[in-house]
Symmetry: C2
Subunit: 209 residues, 2 copies
């Protein structure tokens, strides 16, 4: 498979292709056309063909793609053919909900560390995981070679916590705090903020209520 | 302000502009150049100027934008100059965490309804909100004129629940279930799936661990 420079925006769509293909596989489908996939995803078939062509061809002209082959290839491209161990920082409602989340294990993600600074929370268990004090965060993360962290600390603590994570070797941060983190270019950052998604939809809502 | 057809991708960036401008205002700044804003957001200044020009001009050449004026205008464009009442469907860990979430009220979002089907959960309180049984969902949503719902039900219940919400008048759904919903074009849907964000970052991580 040829894999040269691929634009970030293409990479950003691959996990959704994979999710939809897995859903189709569960529905018992074996092959899929770019048109079918496009309808499910709400984007154009041309876009899907163009995105996939970044990685060489996956299908024969006119016969569609083999769903299982495409799933396997996308998993390889996205480095999902392994288990990724992840640290969660912030054991409030959201941090606990994420640590409990069933959808991680089935998709190759294992939460192995959970940190907080609240003495009432440190030492308690969330599922099988004991909440550790954030003061040992750098040491624990280095020791376990964790590269990915999920940040669910309050907004005002987000930047300093992220800085500490990066110093400890974390290369990718999923940030739930409602602030834009300023980090070295080589660190991957994604933000999840439900408010931003809601605001984006509000633009389209009727004004008559 | 001229406001004709604006591409979805432009709208999708406005909430992040607003978030960053609010952060700058809290830091005590009064004016901002597109270059400063671009650096914070990790996109180009040209992109920001082009996006904002969709709504007419906001700043004088060379003097930058007034942060407060820009915040006010973006809030108007996104219909944020009001309180939006929202229903949460699914009162598991995530639904409860969202209902507790402090970041909604400060940004004009009020969770007013919370539904579940689990008899152990129905009738309990999450903050000031009593969990209602989903069987009254359509009626409650119609009665209160709710247009926006957050879906935190299990994957297998997501599509049927979304269909019921749309029939009850919901026009925008923020979906946390890891499935792609198939809904009428006029319904706004946004997905939040931490796994997709994590997978997207894994592409960029070193293979040596």
């Amino acid at each position: 498979m040829t894999e040269e420079f691929v634009p970030d925006v293409v990479i950003s769509r691959l996990p959704r292709y994979l999710q939809t293909l897995n859903q189709m596989a569960r529905e018992g489908l074996h092959t899929v056309s770019s048109k079918m996939l496009a309808e499910r995803l709400g984007i154009t078939a041309a876009q899907i063909r163009k995105d996939l062509s970044c990685f060489g061809g996956f299908g024969k002209q006119g016969t569609g793609y083999s769903i299982y082959y495409l799933i396997e290839q996308l998993q390889k491209i996205l480095n999902l053919d392994r288990i990724w161990r992840v640290a969660v920082v912030g054991a409030g409602d959201l941090g606990r909900a994420l640590t409990h989340y069933q959808g991680f294990a089935s998709r190759g993600i294992e939460i192995v560390l959970l940190f907080d600074i609240d003495p009432k929370i440190v030492g308690t268990k969330v599922g099988p995981i004991v909440v550790r004090h954030s003061e040992s965060m750098e040491e624990d993360i280095r020791e376990q070679g964790i590269k990915i962290a999920i940040l669910t600390v309050p907004a005002e603590a987000a930047q300093s916590t992220a800085d500490r994570l990066v110093k400890a070797g974390v290369e990718a941060i999923l940030n739930y705090a409602p602030v834009t983190l300023i980090l070295p270019d080589e660190v991957q950052v994604q933000h999840i903020d439900p408010v931003l998604h809601l605001q984006q939809m509000m633009y389209y809502l009727d004004d008559n209520d």
